[in-house]
Amino acid sequence: MGDSASWFEVWVIGTVDLATLSLVALVSAHLSGGLSGALAGLGTVPGLLLFGYLWFLVVAAVWWVLRDGGLREERAIRTLIVRSAGGGALAGGGLIGGVALVAGIAVVVTDAASLTAVALIATIGGVAAGIVGAIVGVVFAAINVALQWVSERAVPTAEREDYSSSSSS
């Protein structure tokens, strides 16, 4: 992906997906009354670092999904779904894998005997997060395509206006 327009699309879609995911989680936690408890267990600096890491993972996953063309490119829906599932799985697995790696290092430094248990937990957690991430990736692929569809109708380009006027005449 060499042109800057594609990087622009990756940046916008990646950050849209991240913000949407974060807001859905926040609203759900707030309405269920669990937000206070969830935030209390996460310090500010670790929370910001975790958010930054997730932002990086989501943008990287979107880059991977769109590396051969943006949402407007004609391609088989099956390709988009498979790539979105793969991108979501990598982001989910990368998130839990990264957290487990950092936490695991801290645990193993103080207790080397727990290395096997930490590795096992990280593997199981990473696989589970990968499966959830794949599902979330497909859901967001559908959302992104829907947003593109709405955008094309909210702000028709000259080509679309030409097509509409020629079709109606």
């Binding site: 622009f8 849209v16 913000a19 500010t44 958010f51 932002w55 909210a154 702000v155 380009t157 000259a158």
Partner: protein
């Protein structure tokens, strides 16, 4: 959290909102003038806008963690719910707008006046939505 760290987080939050709101108003006004092709400037702003949105969400969660989120059944909790829903709508609406700026940028020919008028409406909607978010944030901050 130490007070200095809290101050840094809140400062980033306020600066992020200043970039998003100030830039949206400028883009809205830019699309109303015929002086130049506005798309390159809009595209530069969109990079900044989404960076600001990411920082606003991150530091907003940090502020909630520091101040303690209100319960969902309280009046402050209802205001927080309203704020989060307005931000959600803002993000979705801004995605529609940004994808339009991307498409117009990709065209070799200048965008039509009709497309500019639609974009101008979307930037105005963004700016007013951000004003509403600021008002709700003030209610939350001062009770």
């Amino acid at each position: 959290m130490s007070s200095s760290l809290h101050l840094v987080v809140r400062s980033i939050h306020v600066l992020g909102m200043a970039i998003a709101l100030g830039g949206s108003v400028l883009a809205w006004q830019l699309l109303g003038s015929d002086d130049q092709d506005p798309i390159p400037s809009l595209r530069r702003f969109e990079w900044l806008f989404w960076g600001a949105i990411g920082l606003l969400v991150a530091t907003g969660v940090g502020n909630l963690g520091t101040l303690g989120p209100p319960g969902p059944s309280t009046s402050w909790g209802a205001v927080l719910t309203a704020k989060l829903l307005v931000v959600f709508a803002l993000v979705v609406g801004s995605a529609v707008r940004s994808l339009a700026v991307l498409r117009l940028q990709d065209r070799d020919r200048a965008a039509s006046d009709h497309a500019h008028a639609r974009l101008r409406t979307l930037y105005a909607g963004t700016a007013w939505s951000l004003v509403l978010v600021v008002a709700l944030a003030e209610v939350l901050a001062h009770g």
